[in-house]
């Protein structure tokens, strides 16, 4: 069945409603809306949310923007909290304590709650095989507390705890490759995606993740206008550049087999992605050309590695 954005929008009402307080131009709400739209209309969901921008903006007592059941407990344990709810479902369903309908389990966490403080809880939930999807909306820093570096922050980015100073030019470490860490858990479905080309890639991967039995993980790039320093209306432009420069390759790993979802015919140079963002501004000062070169090298080697993984796993 071919994906059709208009049809999805017309037949599937948003399950994250208007009135939430996320910033204009934030990449996270479209991600949450599209992931939730990938649910069948008749299915109920339990959403767990790590503490972060999304949580503090969508459930401020006494108002909730979520039409499904929703739980937030703390920063580092969306994985374990949802695992507990899923275990309750398995147990109560088996005992005949619940009705007929299906319930799906979806966690949302930012890169802080997922790559860093919540990594253990996520890893445990994935290893134990709970039937759930964990969605990381990766905006590449702790945005909720005011743009501090995370292990998802790209090299050289200027953040409030890795400031571009006169001696140290921003974050000096490379970003963690979380999707591959999740692949290392040998779970049935891992994918990297973002909101791009009518959201087809995001929607289809979310649908697969939700309706694959067992644990699934989605890593979704979600740009942050405040942390990255781009005009709010440019969100989709930034997303497109992330894909066309291969900064954020779109791929999925199904039962250990890699499939790259999109290979740009002509890869754009990384400058195209870096230039519109204030967090990389210092890289374009005279004398800092080496930083762009190094950044490009990292993007190239990661892309090459991905091509090889696709080749090897499809043999």
């Amino acid at each position: 069945m071919a994906y059709n954005l208009k049809e999805v929008m017309a037949t599937k009402p948003s399950r994250l409603t208007a009135g939430h307080r996320m910033c204009a131009g934030c990449g996270a709400p479209p991600v949450a809306r599209m992931v939730m739209r990938a649910l069948k209309n008749e299915d109920h969901a339990v959403v767990a949310n790590a503490t972060g921008c999304m949580e503090v903006s969508t459930f401020i007592y006494p108002y909730s923007a979520w039409t499904d059941s929703y739980i937030h407990t703390a920063f580092e344990c969306a994985g374990a909290t949802l695992a507990g709810a899923e275990a309750a479902y398995q147990s109560m369903k088996k005992q005949g304590k619940l009705g007929e309908g299906e319930t799906k389990f979806i966690a949302f966490g930012g890169d802080g709650g997922t790559y860093d403080i919540g990594l253990q809880s996520l890893s445990g939930a994935m290893e134990r095989g709970h039937d759930m999807v964990y969605v990381c909306y990766d905006n590449g820093a702790y945005m909720n507390t005011g743009i501090q570096r995370s292990s998802a922050t790209p090299k050289f980015a200027d953040t409030t705890t890795s400031p571009a100073g006169t001696v140290i030019p921003g974050k000096m470490q490379s970003r963690k490759d979380l999707a591959k860490i999740m692949v290392g858990h040998h779970i049935p479905y891992v994918a990297q995606t973002l909101g791009y080309l009518n959201f087809a890639d995001l929607y289809q991967k979310a649908e697969k993740a939700i309706y694959t039995e067992g644990p699934a993980f989605l890593n979704v790039l979600a740009p942050c206008p405040r942390g990255w320093g781009y005009p709010t209306e440019d969100l989709m432009k930034i997303n497109k550049l992330a894909v066309d420069t291969c900064y954020w390759p779109l791929y999925e790993v199904v039962d250990g087999v890699y499939h790259i979802s999109y290979k740009p015919k002509e890869r754009l140079p990384i400058e195209e992605f870096l230039k519109p963002q204030k967090r990389f501004r210092h890289m374009f000062k005279p004398g800092n050309e080496w930083m762009i070169e190094e950044f490009q090298k990292e993007v190239d080697s990661r892309w090459d590695e991905l091509l090889k993984l696709e080749e090897i796993t499809n043999k």
Binding site: Y61, S69, A80, Y89, G101, R128
Partner: protein, 396 residues
């Protein structure tokens, strides 16, 4: 009536959990409570329970998963000790604030550091203001009985608070003693079914749990928690009375042992009460009017009732198996003394910090306390209220 058995404290709790048959158990091993999830996972493996056992990767995740499960509409249980409870600490507060009647068995052990695996009450004292009901148990029988009463107390609509049952690590958790168990069907009937009013898995009524709760509401929500804790007193009384009808075993907020005509008394919790009873019996034979007040219900704290119970004494010693390191006495001492002051009961009270890190507390130690108390009775004066018991001399 009842089944006579010989079980360790841990095994007794695991048997109670099997009889309760909770929907979810999420736990992580830590000495000396490890045996509880260990025994329980055998019940799961052998199909004796309907429970989903979640073998989590940490105690933080154990409590997080219990919160997720209980919010989803399940009965969730766990067990831990010491550092395990410390790692749960953040989630302990969240569990009570979400009004989730989770039941936890805490096998008391010294909290690091330095590392020590033996018994004291520093783990429990670290969560005494976290909004959990806390019941203490002298022996395996009491740990078992308190566990059977736990859900009816915690799940009562006027309460809806999590509850922890405490017992002493190794001293009772690993000692095999006689015990009287209830038949499985009687437990099932006594505990009853859990029917939560609102829960995540109710497809007909989706709910949102765990908001950002700012200046306009948090204060009121905290006051509601405090009110629920006050309500718990009446519920604990009623459930304990029902339990007595079923088993003949009487449980109150605290146990008064030969206190009626006593001149002096010790106040303590858990297994030390057993040692104290033996000493009281000996002293009574010698004509010494010694008594004991054993606190069972530590949270909510029965301040007024304890103050009244101690009001006719001439000297009281409160034994704390955890040092608050505050230059002003242990937690139980502070609770007792503040209760007496507020209720205008003026009796000399002294505090002993004892048994830290599993330091053995022998009958001779307890005799020493009563001997000190008899001097206070004679002189009417309690000098140096902050004392140690069993600390080697010269190593203070």
């Amino acid at each position: 009536m009842g089944i006579r058995e010989r079980l360790s404290g841990n095994e007794a709790v695991a048997v109670a959990m099997r009889q309760i048959n909770p929907d979810v158990v999420a736990a992580f091993p830590i000495t000396p409570s490890t045996e509880i999830p260990q025994y329980f996972s055998t019940f799961v493996a052998n199909g004796q329970v309907d429970t989903e056992f979640v073998a989590v990767e940490s105690e933080h995740s154990a409590m997080s998963a219990c919160i997720g499960a209980e919010a989803a509409g399940a009965r969730a249980m766990t067990a831990t000790s010491a550092n395990g409870l410390s790692l749960m600490w953040e989630m302990i507060y969240i569990a009570s604030s979400l009004r989730l009647p989770i039941v936890l068995n805490l096998v008391n052990r010294a909290v690091s550091g330095p590392l020590n695996i033996h018994n004291d009450h520093s783990d429990a004292m670290g969560v005494r203001d976290a909004g959990w009901i806390m019941l203490f148990s002298e022996n395996n029988q009491e740990a078992y009985d308190n566990t059977l009463m736990a859900h009816r107390i915690a799940e009562n609509p006027n309460v809806k608070l999590p509850l922890m049952i405490c017992q002493d690590g190794f001293i009772t958790s690993h000692s095999i003693e006689n015990i009287e168990l209830l038949e499985d069907d009687k437990v099932k009937e006594f505990v009853g079914e859990y029917k939560p009013e609102h829960y995540l898995l109710n497809q007909k009524e989706p709910i949102a749990v765990g908001p950002l709760d700012l200046q306009s509401y948090l204060f009121e929500h905290k006051a509601q928690q405090a009110e629920a804790m006050k309500n718990a007193k009446q519920v604990i009384k009623e459930v304990s009375e029902d339990f007595e009808k079923l088993t003949g075993r009487k449980y109150e907020f605290f146990e008064e042992y030969k206190l009626d005509d006593a001149e002096m008394a010790i106040v303590c919790m858990n297994s030390t009460a057993g040692t104290t009873k033996a000493v009281v019996d000996k002293l009574r034979e010698q004509g010494v009017k010694a008594g004991l007040l054993k606190v069972r219900m530590y949270r909510p704290f029965p301040a007024e009732e304890i103050a009244n119970s101690l009001s006719n004494l001439k000297a009281v010693a409160v034994l704390d198996k955890a040092d608050s390191l505050n230059a002003a006495g242990g937690a139980l001492f502070e609770d007792v003394v503040s209760g007496m002051y507020v209720n205008n009961k003026n009796v000399p009270v002294v505090n002993y910090v004892y048994g830290i890190g599993g330091r053995d507390t022998k009958e001779t130690d307890i005799e020493e306390v009563y001997s000190d108390l008899s001097k206070i009775v004679e002189t009417g004066k309690a000098e140096n209220p902050y004392r140690y018991l069993g600390l080697r001399k010269g190593e203070k």
